[in-house]
């Protein structure tokens, strides 16, 4: 991990373009700027983004996504490790089937099922985000761990590494790029998914979209949509820095 960061830091050529989207995002949350730019869409009238400042909505939104990803890493990586240990092929097929199933169930359905038990608000939103983001992280984690050359595992074992040492020193570092790619995909998806959370009263950038829709104010919808898109692109660019080139 540290070597990946170090290597990507070395090339300014990769870092500077990656900063473009975060910079645009920062500009987008400057109070009044984006609504004024989009006013022509609402017949010249500056859309009312409500009492909560845009930067705060964006931060809440980012908070959802990041805490969901944190939970996903804590759940998904151990899960991927557990099912790829030798002698657990049956467990692995089960996990693959479940993650495959998870991918086909719509987010809306998960949220609709969660609300009756968890109520409205942050809880069902987080559940939806975590379940949805778990899929790419677990499947990429499994794929990455399975792709580690058996000769390397044999060498590691033959030199006297314990199972734990093989995992930390060989298997995880080698599967990290694939795992990070999964994390990146799920993060980007979840910026979009989290907008639905506003419908459950959880807040975030989705609030602008929902209010805009109910007021039939295209400019307001666009403020929310553009900011979510910039947030997704920013996270994608920043996480991309951790993925080695080529």
């Amino acid at each position: 991990m540290t070597t990946l960061v170090a290597r990507s830091r070395r090339s300014l050529g990769r870092v500077l373009p990656a900063l473009l989207w975060p910079a645009l995002l920062l500009a987008g949350v400057v109070p009044g700027l984006l609504p004024r730019l989009l006013a022509p869409l609402a017949g010249g009238e500056v859309p009312d983004t409500g009492s909560t400042p845009l930067w705060q909505l964006a931060l809440v939104h980012l908070g959802f996504v990041l805490s969901a990803e944190a939970a996903v890493v804590l759940l998904g990586v151990p899960l991927a490790v557990a099912v790829t240990r030798p002698g657990r092929e049956a467990l692995m097929r089960l996990a693959e089937a479940l993650t495959g199933l998870g991918q086909t169930v719509p987010t809306l359905a998960i949220l609709a099922l969660a609300v009756p038990t968890l109520g409205l608000g942050v809880k069902p939103t987080m559940l939806g985000l975590v379940l949805y983001a778990l899929v790419p992280v677990v499947s990429n984690g499994v794929a990455g761990l399975l792709a580690v050359d058996p000769a390397l595992k044999d060498a590691a074992e033959g030199m006297g590494m314990t199972g734990r040492q093989r995992l930390w020193r060989v298997e995880l570092p080698l599967s990290l790029p694939v795992l990070l790619a999964g994390l990146r995909i799920s993060t980007v998806y979840n910026v979009g998914t989290a907008t639905i959370g506003a419908a459950l009263g959880a807040g975030g950038l989705g609030l602008l979209i929902i209010n805009g829709l109910s007021q039939q104010n295209t400019a307001l919808v666009m403020v929310g949509a553009i900011l979510s898109a910039l947030l997704a692109l920013s996270l994608d660019a920043v996480l991309g820095l951790f993925t080695p080139p080529e």
Partner: protein, 314 residues
């Protein structure tokens, strides 16, 4: 010394449910400080035998003693850190530098960093890789031959008395293989490790090994020096496996300079001392000569290689 006592490994065929022996009642001693080759046709149980020594495979019967101690009395990880391990696929960790790869076992043993660093430099030097040029490279930036040199350095890092090698030079092209084999023999002359080397390459066994254990279908066919197997095959299997040109193959593993004797070289055809004894024989046959003059690297005559010396070489 490594002793195998009635060693046995049984497997169950998953299709038929029938049991079969990958290794059967194998008793054998690998002498200290020598290279012993485990030789034999594909599937005869060489790898299984080797991997039972460091307990990557647990035997279903028999005992293995290293310096008199049963290997089962120790945790497998502990045991393996005292045994060097080199494999055909080399298996260098691609995310680590050459230096970090070599430092693997000393790190596992918790040896002081500064001491390990020093040791890594010595080892790279030993296997013929200039530390300044290679220590900080990644394995992918090395040739196959250079990678296997690192593999050998890594196996030697904690100075283990025993080295297990499974077809260590099998993945190298012939030229690189010759060079790495030479370098390895040179290292062994100094270090005198107890080495068990799996190979299915007869030439490699005849050339590298002090002793050969020839296996067939999980059992020992013959155990002896290369000369024993070539001149005194214990069975038709041994004779057929080595082939009718076994003696020539054996000579191919010997250097003319190592076989020459002092003598009068006037009028004899001259050969380079770095040639192998089989090439020397070929030249004698071509020149219709009973002996050749052997030249050193400076081009001066160093000795005479006679027909009799070739007959007796072994």
């Amino acid at each position: 010394m490594i002793e195998l006592q009635h060693l046995e490994k049984r497997y169950t065929n998953p299709q038929t449910g029938a049991e079969f022996y990958a290794v059967k009642d194998l008793s054998l001693s690998f002498p200290s400080g020598e290279i012993t080759a485990l030789l034999g046709p594909s599937g005869c149980g060489k790898t299984t035998t080797l991997r039972m020594i460091n307990r990557l495979i647990e035997p279903t019967g028999g005992h293995i003693l290293i310096d008199g101690q049963d290997t089962r009395r120790e945790r497998p990880e502990q045991l393996r850190r005292r045994i060097g391990y080199v494999i055909q696929q080399i298996g260098l960790f691609p995310h680590l530098t050459v230096a970090q790869n070599v430092a693997t076992v000393p790190d596992l043993l918790g040896q002081p960093k500064a001491q390990t660093q020093q040791r890594v430099l010595e080892l790279l030097e030993l296997v013929g890789l200039e530390p300044g040029r290679f220590a900080q490279r990644r394995p992918a930036e090395l040739s196959g031959g250079q990678q296997q040199r690192v593999g050998v350095a890594r196996a030697l890092a904690a100075d283990p008395p025993v080295l297990l090698m499974d077809e260590p030079f099998g993945a190298l092209d012939p030229l690189a293989r010759d060079m790495v084999q030479d370098a390895f023999l040179e290292i062994q002359r100094r270090l005198k490790k107890t080495i068990v080397m799996v190979t299915h390459d007869i030439d490699e066994a005849l050339r590298m090994a002090d002793r050969i254990a020839l296996m067939n279908a999980g059992a020992l066919a013959q155990f002896g020096t290369p000369d024993d197997l070539v001149r005194r095959p214990a069975s038709d299997f041994v004779r057929q496996f080595l082939g009718e040109d076994a003696r020539l193959r054996q000579l191919a593993g010997l250097k003319a300079a190592d076989l020459m004797q002092p003598g009068d070289a006037t009028g004899l055809p001259q050969i380079d001392g770095r040639l192998n004894a089989r090439s020397a024989l070929s030249i004698m046959l071509r020149e219709r000569a009973g002996a050749v003059a052997v030249l050193g690297e400076d081009g001066q005559v160093k000795g005479v290689l006679s027909w009799q010396a070739l007959e007796q070489a072994g």
